[in-house]
């Protein structure tokens, strides 16, 4: 019997011991306002080729993390914080894939930070994440500063969202098969991303072509102003409504604007590369993360188990048997939680090489992917200054 099979059997046997069913402290129970789940959502897809004017470029910034695990000081909670940070890199890519699948947008990229060259920036904050619940806040703002979405989404999984046999029978399933099934399965929280994509689309459909064109124009000039504020700041103005608008139009063949476009092209090559890093991370993490979320769902469900009621019937008995049973319940609950923590550590260990790869040195640049991004923007600014003599 392989170590892996033995491992799963141990986990399965732990799960099967119903007295150990409630493990409430890891990660600490979230105290978030109850938001109704998005339910089953069908992704609105383009029935015909999207009009060019509809093809706004989207940038999804790596999510912030505000989960209770990230704020907890309970021993072992750092593991869950680590997982949340990995999710913050992984989940934006799931959203990206859904937005690409909707076929309603231009380029959709995952970025380490907000980028002035994109038309619409999506910034997410992860509020709760387990195999059972996902809650995130999304802020979508276009380059003019207009908020498209400022909303919290929640999705709850059902058992049907996860492939493989019933968790109580998992000990007799072949783990390789389960892993393969999980790797190919749709994300269990796909509805939340579909809902976000649909909300964005519905908002965009309220715009006229002129308004869409204006967003693209403002993006262009905001990127130019980011490269060379002294040259391009004058082309933009913030209105009383707080929205940016272009006040001075440059000729399409303006040499300065052409240089900006050249630099923007190089910038986009770079952020495409960064987006590919996130794709690699997504590919690397996906099977382990799917398995992790499935365990996480089992654990969350165990927490809700009815066995508590059964247990309460015993309260009041004073015999040694009752006391030892009570201690054993506590002990098994804690053992179960410690096994779950070991799984969390296992997940972090397994994904660590992919994160390292993400932050690997890029030619001539150093530091994390975020730092490299900042360095690259500085380099482009310097190139622009050299080329234009500004």
């Amino acid at each position: 019997m392989s170590n892996r099979v033995r491992y799963y059997r141990i986990i399965a046997s732990l799960v099967c011991i119903t007295v150990l069913s409630a493990c409430g402290s890891t990660p600490p129970a979230p105290e978030l306002p109850k938001i109704p789940p998005v339910g089953d959502v069908t992704l609105l897809q383009g029935e015909q080729a999207t009009q060019a004017y509809q093809q706004l470029d989207l940038g999804i910034v790596v999510f912030n993390v505000e989960t209770p695990a990230a704020q907890s000081t309970v021993p072992g909670s750092s593991l869950y914080q680590e997982i949340a940070e990995k999710e913050a890199h992984y989940l934006p890519y799931v959203l990206r894939n859904i937005l690409v699948a909707s076929d309603q947008w231009g380029v959709v990229r995952v970025l380490p930070e907000a980028d002035p060259s994109v038309d619409l920036t999506l910034q997410g904050t992860l509020l709760e994440s387990s195999g059972l619940n996902l809650q995130l806040h999304l802020l979508a703002t276009d380059s003019t500063g207009r908020e498209w979405i400022n909303k919290t989404y929640r999705d709850e999984t059902s058992f049907a969202d996860y492939p493989g046999p019933d968790p109580f029978l998992r000990g007799v399933s072949r783990d390789e098969e389960l892993l393969a099934e999980l790797a190919e399965a749709e994300d269990p929280f796909v509805d939340i991303y579909r809902q976000i994509a649909n909300d964005l689309l519905l908002f965009r459909n309220t715009f006229t072509q002129q308004q869409i064109d204006n967003i693209s124009l403002v993006s262009q000039m905001r990127y130019a102003a980011d490269l060379s504020p002294q040259t391009f700041d004058r082309t933009l103005e913030q209105g009383p409504d707080g929205l940016w608008r272009v006040v001075t139009l440059l000729a399409e063949d303006d040499p300065m604007l052409r240089r900006v476009e050249d630099i923007k092209l190089r910038h986009h090559l770079f952020i495409d590369t960064i987006d590919e890093y996130y794709e690699s991370l997504y590919q690397e993490m996906q099977p382990s993360y799917a398995l992790w979320r499935r365990y996480s769902r089992d654990q969350a469900l165990e927490d809700r188990s009815e066995v508590r009621r059964e247990f309460r019937n015993d309260v009041g008995s004073s015999s040694f048997t009752a006391l030892s049973q009570s201690y054993n319940r506590y002990m098994w609950a804690k053992l179960f939680e410690q096994e779950f923590t070991a799984l969390a550590a296992g997940f972090n260990n397994e994904v660590a090489p992919a994160i390292l790869e993400l932050n690997r040195l890029v030619h001539g640049l150093t530091g994390s992917v975020d730092e490299q991004y900042t360095q690259w923007r500085d380099i482009l600014r310097q190139i622009f200054e050299l080329e234009t003599g500004l």
């Binding site: 392989s2 892996r4 491992y7 409630a22 004073s318 015999s319 009570s326 201690y327 506590y330």
Partner: protein
């Protein structure tokens, strides 16, 4: 700006084996404590009868507080059976592994913290002077206190386990452990999610 220096914590790390000679025997301790209770009861009801000192044996326990003490003593015996305790301590936390029981884990930075919470019992841990303390509260009103202390030469460790129920007289059991050295581990193992524990021989070719 540098942060506050971490508070001083005694080092419990290492492997510890029970010294049976120096540890309390739970049945002797039970008899001793029952005798004390009965003596106190007798004195309270009849101050003249302090010459009649009843001898209490297991299986012949009157109802009331001594009966409850027997239950608590047996529970103390149940949860103090480990002959070996293995402790890992870092700047962040102390991890007490016990055979056949869940590990006790406590942070080292804070003085008091909740270390486990479930409908089946809560655990709070912390540091009192140089002692590491875990307090487990079971739903029936049973409180279990584990108090670890280490000798100045770090060769001996005392573990006081104290169990009470709804404020009753606690049953105390002191276990004494002696430090011993485990042979170095031949394998270096890393836990992974999908492949279980992945081990390599320490000192294998190519390993630094």
């Amino acid at each position: 700006m540098p942060g506050n220096p971490p508070p001083y914590r005694p080092d419990f790390s290492g492997s510890w084996e029970k010294d049976f000679q120096r540890s309390d025997r739970w049945d002797e301790e039970l008899n001793r404590q029952i005798e004390q209770i009965l003596q106190a009861q007798t004195q309270a009801s009849n101050p003249q009868s302090n010459l009649l000192r009843p001898t209490m044996q297991l299986g012949n326990v009157p109802r009331g507080r001594p009966a409850e003490l027997v239950d608590l003593a047996r529970l103390a015996e149940l949860i103090s059976r480990q002959n070996v305790i293995d402790i890992t301590q870092t700047a962040e936390e102390v991890f007490v592994r016990r055979q056949g029981d869940a590990a006790l884990i406590c942070g080292t930075r804070q003085n008091v913290m909740q270390s486990f919470s479930s409908p089946y019992g809560n655990e709070v841990c912390g540091w009192e002077r140089e002692q590491l303390v875990f307090r487990i509260s079971l739903p029936e009103g049973v409180d279990i206190l584990h108090r670890f202390s280490v000798s100045p030469d770090a060769q001996w460790m005392n573990l006081l386990t104290s169990i009470s129920r709804r404020g009753s007289t606690p049953f105390n059991l002191i276990q004494v452990y002696r430090r011993f050295d485990l042979p170095p581990d031949a394998y270096n193992c890393v836990q992974t999610l999908s492949r279980g524990r992945v081990c390599s021989a320490t000192g294998a070719p190519g390993e630094q």
